[in-house]
Each structure stands twice: as structure tokens, then as C-alpha cells.
Amino acid sequence: MTQDIYVVIEHLRGQVAEISYVMLAAAQELAKGQNGKVVAVLLGKNAQGLAGNLAADRLISFDHPGLADFTSDAYQKVLAGLIQKDQPRAVFFGSTSIGTDLASVLSIRLGLPLVSSCRLFTPEGKYVSQICGGKIMAEGELPGPTSLVTMVPGGYKPEQGQSNQSPAVTQGEVPSLDSLRVSLKGYIEPAAGDVDIAKEPILISVGRGIQNKDNISLAEDLASALGGVVTGSRPVIDQGWLASSRLVGKSGKQVKPKIYFTLGISGAPEHAEAIMGSNAIIAVNTDPAAPIFNIAKYGVEMDLFDLVEVLTEKVKAAKAS
């Protein structure tokens, strides 16, 4: 058993995911009071080059052709063996497409407690987790002796998890990866041809509050008056009201526009994490408790249908004058 905090490094096609650095920063904070070190765990094939700037005391590398790309079955097998053998104080996963395929299954297989969507840790071992779209925070003691954790961004800056010193590397022993039930067949690249919303300076972004596809034209009118582009949150894309190339959020694009103007977006964590780099967020929503107002620079508590047409006319008039 060890008091070390293990962080499962997420990477995709040769790039370390930002959440990995956020997890390392959180692990540093927790490790301070737990008399343990921060240990990065890297699974891949010839992936050690990714370890250069990880803020960890040491790194355990599992190098195998079967780990070259993420698949849940192979990763679970390797991590189950490691966690059982070392019994660290905590193991961190991202609350992501990769981490959520692992943490819950391992919790059951290894009989270990799991706290999901954690945002902050204290050295004393307290976690703060966010639920209900970021409207409620839950706090408690991280269960012992070993806990699994999934982390959301927002509590730590990625830079806090970066270092200019490479961690010392040890090789982990990869178990047999025969008879796996999940295999990667290939990747499908995002559709090209549409505007790249990550590069647009003005985004008019619509959420569930836009109500139906016909109403998208209201946002388009405002966008064209301002010289911007219309984007949307997950429900709008899933309903087929906007193309998936316009998705802002966890599984879509991260954006950093000059103005991010939201209409009927509540600001759930999956959306909020993708827009934090915006210069100015301006939010219109009828719900005064919508989390979007906590990250926006300016807010309007109003029905978007009362506002947008009036605003579009005013913008046109200002441009004409």
C-alpha cells in the first residue's frame, strides 16, 4: 500500500489532453497532506515523449502495441493489475470519453469507492464534486484506503500541472492482452468544409432555449448583423438544428472568441469548460440561477424572443450610422 496519488494520463493521437494537467495539479494539492507523491501513469506505444512536461514525481510507463490507441478493455486490464498491486491512496481519471470508460468498471471490479466529477481537493483529503449541471456542489472526505476519482476541469489551471523537469520513468509490466472484447477499427476525421468556429471572433451560440429549428434564423440574423457565426450547445446539435461542426462543448470544439453571445444556454459544465477562453461572454437566459451567469461578463435575464429581434435592428442601425 502507498499514499501516492496516481494520475492516468489521457492522450489522443500524440497529444496530452488538457485534463491530464488539471488532474496532476489536483493530485499535487491532495498529495501535500497525504504524505505521498504524485505518480503519472502512461499507457501507450512509444508514448514516453509525452511525459516531458508532466508535473509528477515519477512516471510508470506501460508500453505495448495493444495500448497504442485507447480501448477500454485493454486499459482496464493494465490498470486493474497496477491498482491491485500498488494500492495507491487515489487514482485520478478524467471525466471524459476515456476516463469514464474506465473508472466505473474498475470501481466494481476492484471493489473500490469512486467519486465522480470532482473539481477541487484539499491536502486533508476533502473533495468537492459538481452535479446537476454545475448547479450543486457536493463535498466530503475522500474514502480510504484507496479511492478512484474522475475529474472535471475548472478547479485548477492546466499550467499548474506542467513542469520543466521530466519525471523519473519506470516501466510497468503489461499483462497479456489476448482475448480482448473491444478493438479500434479506425478514426473518422471531423467534417471539413464548414467554418472553423475555433477561429471565429464573434459567436452567437444557441441552446435548448431556442426551442425549435425555425428559431435558429433569429440567431443567424443577429450573427450576420454583427459579422459573426452561429454555434450551439449539445442539445441543439443532437436535435439536428445545427451541423455538428458548430458544436461548442466537451465533445465539440473549444472556442476563444472576442465575443461569445449565448441565447438560452444554461452553461452546464460540459459547455462552460469549452468557452472559458472567451474574451467576453454575454449571456441571455430566463433562469436567474443559470450557471452561465457565473462565468459571463454581462448577463440579461430575459426571454430571448423578446430581445433578439430588437437587438438585431439596433446593431444594423449602429452599423449604418
Partner: protein, 254 residues
């Protein structure tokens, strides 16, 4: 193809959420529950698979207030069997307890494929799908926006950030976490749901005693502090628009 779809109800985030007198749980008395939107996508994906390749769709859900309507709505969309699992879910249960309660029922149904929403807004101890996969010792893949059956395997499209999609092959039986169905969840008229209520039945099965071990203990729940709150613009639509135009000018876009 025997397809099982797990459904749970979650707090409606449009309503105001309050913390109860214990200070460590949501106040259930005032909570309005709605279907987890990702489960709605799982239902749609399951029915699409049945329409394409045949099979049976069974919906399994814990017995909480409002569940009958959700089950009958799924039947109106094309689900063949409805099962509600009886147990003391009224005070709210964590996903470890719920997964164990549903696992016994699902195992008895001998599924080829189990679909559920990839996550839910009240998850605090992991998601229902992968917990169930762990209990049933089946493979799990989540964040899916496409599922196809190919003999004894399923081909899935798994979403990564930036719009990248991984195509994966998963040996059946498997549990899959649906992010989005291949088409938006279909609409059914209330009249059709009423009609189905007369002809469909909901089977009841009892859950094994609830065992929440594996979930964290929560000592406090609270609404996040709103320190960095937005500067709120007030007035009529006309007045607010004038202020916004001023802000656009200040930011150099007008």
C-alpha cells in the same frame, strides 16, 4: 437481438434545486423528475436497431414517481416490454446501488446488448452503464453517437473532443453508453401514449436489497458561490439592446 435499455429519472434542472435539512442531499420533496436525456437517446438508438435488424426491446427502470409515463411513452415509440424494478428508491439512491438492483434483473433477461445514457446529471459515483458492465462482466464503451449490429459484434462510433470519432468493434453481449442516437429522439403524440396505456402492461420485478457501497459519503451539498457573477443589464428589450450595442462598440466589434 435481445436489446435491454436502462432508464433513470433525474432532477429537472430548469426547476430550482434546494438542499434538504440534512444539508447533504437534494430536497426530494420539491424535486421534479424527468427522464435522463441521454437515456432518451438510448431508447431511440435501441428502437432504430430493432427497426433495422429485428429483435426485442425491453425497457428496465427503477420504480419512482413518474416512471409509468416514461415507460408507456417508450412503448408508444416501439419498445416491446416494460419492466419496473420495485425497491425503496424514493429517497434517492446512488448509481452503485441502482446498478446492483438492476443487474440482477438484466442478467435474468439474458441480453445481447444493453444500452443506456452515457451519463446523468445526478451521477456522483460514476455512471450507471459502466457500473452495470462491471457487475455483468461485459465490455463497456461510452460516448457513442452510432451503433450497428454485425453478427456477434457491434460496431460503434465513439466521440472524442474536437469532433473526432473512433470506430470500435465490441463483442456481444456488451453494455454501451449512448451520447446521441443517430437521429433525434422521435416524438409521439400524447393520444398514442394513452392508447398504448390501454394495451401495454408494465411487469414488476423486485430488486435485491439496495447496497450503496462504492459511492462516496457526502457531508455537505451547496450551491456554488457566485463570486464572479455577470454584470446584469436591466430594463426593457429596447433599453437592454442599447446597452448591448454600447458594449459591442467598447469591445471593438461595431
Amino acid at each position: 437481438m435481445n436489446i435491454i435499455i436502462l432508464v433513470k429519472l433525474v432532477p429537472d434542472l430548469v426547476e430550482e434545486l434546494t438542499v434538504d435539512a440534512s444539508g447533504a442531499a437534494l430536497d426530494m420533496a420539491w424535486l421534479r423528475l424527468i427522464i435522463n436525456e441521454f437515456d432518451d437517446h438510448a431508447i431511440e438508438q435501441g428502437i432504430l436497431l430493432k427497426e433495422r435488424g429485428g429483435g426485442q426491446v425491453t425497457i428496465v427502470a427503477p420504480d419512482v414517481e413518474g416512471i409509468d409515463d416514461v415507460l408507456f411513452t417508450a412503448a408508444a415509440k416501439g419498445a416491446d416490454h416494460l419492466i419496473k424494478v420495485k425497491g425503496d428508491f424514493s429517497a434517492g439512491v446512488n448509481n452503485h446501488a441502482l446498478a446492483r438492483a438492476l443487474a440482477t434483473v438484466v442478467k435474468g433477461l439474458q441480453p445481447d446488448l444493453v444500452l443506456t445514457g452515457v451519463q446523468a446529471n445526478n451521477d456522483i459515483d460514476g455512471a450507471l452503464g459502466p457500473l452495470l458492465a462491471g457487475l455483468l462482466e461485459m465490455p463497456y464503451v461510452g460516448y457513442l453517437s452510432g451503433v450497428a449490429i454485425d453478427g456477434a459484434k457491434t460496431k460503434v462510433r465513439k466521440e472524442y473532443p474536437g469532433g473526432l470519432i473512433a470506430e470500435m468493434e465490441v463483442t456481444l453481449p456488451a453494455v454501451l453508453g449512448v451520447q446521441a442516437a443517430e437521429q433525434p429522439p422521435r416524438y409521439v403524440a400524447v393520444s398514442k401514449v394513452r392508447q398504448v396505456m390501454k394495451t401495454s402492461t408494465i411487469e414488476e420485478q423486485s430488486a435485491s436489497p439496495l447496497d450503496p457501497s462504492g459511492g462516496p459519503k457526502i457531508s455537505r451539498m451547496f450551491q456554488p458561490e457566485t463570486g464572479g457573477r455577470a454584470t446584469m443589464l436591466t430594463g426593457t428589450a429596447d433599453e437592454v439592446s442599447t446597452q448591448l450595442v454600447g458594449i459591442f462598440k467598447e469591445l471593438g466589434v461595431l
